[in-house]
């Protein structure tokens, strides 16, 4: 039972990170109909910026803030300088360009920082506090839950309640009509990329200290898990991405705890395959609105 509680908490903590990363994928998918395969590499790049800033200044928090800002800027840059010029008539084109970006970003990071693992510090203790003799939650887990909770509810509020959120949704659903109503659709698209990339950077900052450390490929497996989470959620549904992230986190935690950690990459792929075979629209696929 202790073990189950521990694995559950650990799974939810990792799942929260997957949820954020999946949410970032969904944001871009909804805005631009592109699956951003470069998101992992972009997030790692932002984390390296944070590493440099923290190493120079000795402040984790300064690095943390800079990472988010770098993520936002990198997202806007990728949209404005790269994706804007890609022909979107075939969905394959942006995917291949995104994969090219992965190679580019990882190569540049390798040249600048080298490809050894660099230790990434966690701002809070990662040793779990015990409640009644059962190891439950570490302060770092609490930090992860809080940070992602704030970001997810902030985004939900922004999309549902603010004028800019309304503009972004309108621009994504009906770009042409939105332009006629005075919405700067290109600007909304850039904002979507920036926000998604910022959320990705946050996820990287939260997950890297829990793994081997900072490395150009540090987010590759996280990307696979988050992509699976997004597909589980239906790729089009922000709440679906969050639930999908938690589901994938729990699954991986149980598999690695009860069956061995070697099996986790396999488990992710089995889940991805199962969802695509049984329910390709995802568990949260909305009822398709009839276009009239």
């Amino acid at each position: 039972m202790d073990r189950f509680v521990f694995l559950t908490i650990d799974g939810l903590s990792r799942g929260a990170v997957y949820a954020a990363f999946a949410l970032a994928l969904v944001l871009i998918w909804r805005a631009a109909r592109v699956v951003n395969f470069a998101q992992g590499a972009m997030a790692v790049a932002a984390a390296y910026v944070a590493y440099t800033v923290s190493a120079e200044t000795g402040s984790y928090w300064l690095g943390f803030v800079v990472a988010i800002v770098a993520g936002l800027l990198l997202g806007a840059l990728v949209d404005r300088a790269v994706m804007r010029f890609v022909d979107h008539t075939s969905p394959l084109n942006p995917v291949i360009v995104a994969l090219g970006l992965v190679l580019l970003i990882q190569a540049v990071l390798g040249m600048v920082y080298g490809s050894e693992f660099r230790p990434a510090e966690a701002p809070f203790s990662r040793s779990a506090l015990s409640v009644g003799g059962v190891a439950v939650l570490s302060p770092y887990d609490l930090f992860v839950f809080a940070a992602i909770g704030v970001v997810v509810s902030g985004l939900a509020w922004m999309f549902a309640r603010t004028p800019v959120g309304l503009r972004m949704r309108a621009a994504a659903f009906a770009p042409e009509v939105s332009r006629l109503l005075g919405v700067n659709v290109g600007g909304m698209l850039t904002l979507g990329w920036a926000l998604a990339s910022g959320v990705g950077a946050l996820a990287a900052m939260l997950v890297i200290p829990t793994e081997l450390g900072l490395h150009p490929h540090a987010m590759d497996l996280v990307f696979v898990s988050a992509f699976t989470a997004a597909v589980v959620g239906g790729l089009d549904s922000p709440p679906g991405a969050v639930v999908g992230g938690l589901v994938v986190g729990l699954l991986l935690s149980y598999v690695s705890g009860y069956a061995g950690s070697d099996l986790t990459p396999l488990a992710v792929l089995v889940l991805l395959l199962a969802v695509l075979l049984v329910r390709p629209g995802g568990l949260f696929a909305p009822v398709a609105a009839r276009r009239v």
Partner: protein, 252 residues
Amino acid sequence: MRAPQSRTEDDTTSASDLLVVRGLVAGYGAAPVLQAIDLTVPAGTIAAVVGANGAGKTTLLRALSGMIRPVAGQVLLAGEDLRGTPVEQLVRRGMAHVPEGRGVISELTVDENLRLGGLWRRDRADAGRALDEVYELFEPLARRRRHLGHQLSGGERQMLALGRALVGRPRLLLLDEPSLGLAPRVVARTMALLRQLRDQTGLTVLLVEQNVRSALAIADQGVVMSLGRVVTAAPAATLRDDVELRHAYLGF
């Protein structure tokens, strides 16, 4: 109300002309659909562009609102050249375009669709007033504020699209086939409403219609298009009574 006027050959621009189009050439790809369109719509009047399928009516509206870039020619809105103005800026110049099929965003609620129409405005207080006025004007919408666009009937969508344009308090309203797929009673109500808006608020309307009878019934000016050209522009009453013209281009 001023008398409608015929202006086909007239090259002078009077201060009261809200929309002036000169020699407009536009289309998709190599062959232009519109071939040197000339058109003048005085402020506070309703102009109906009629003609067969493929005459270029929708293309004309899309060229006016910048959805397609004109190859040549000039579009003046209240004397200002609109060339190079991005589509999203036109609503700020006072032009509202309700596209064919009406463009209700079906994933958004009625209220969100309507608010979207006024989001660009700096005068937030007046945007709020305009929203309330639209809800008063279209009572069924007020009862369905939280419904999604795809849950509305055809007539309600029509109201929503029109209301959304009115929230921006446009000077010029471009309407593409407002009667499309609607029951005759709903069409009659819409047309009467356009007339009412013209009389009460001085709204200028350029509407494109296949439903020639109802369009000419409320229009001040009728513009007949055929194969990308303006064949004739005349007071709507004259067109209604011109048997030859009706037979030749309008089919009734």
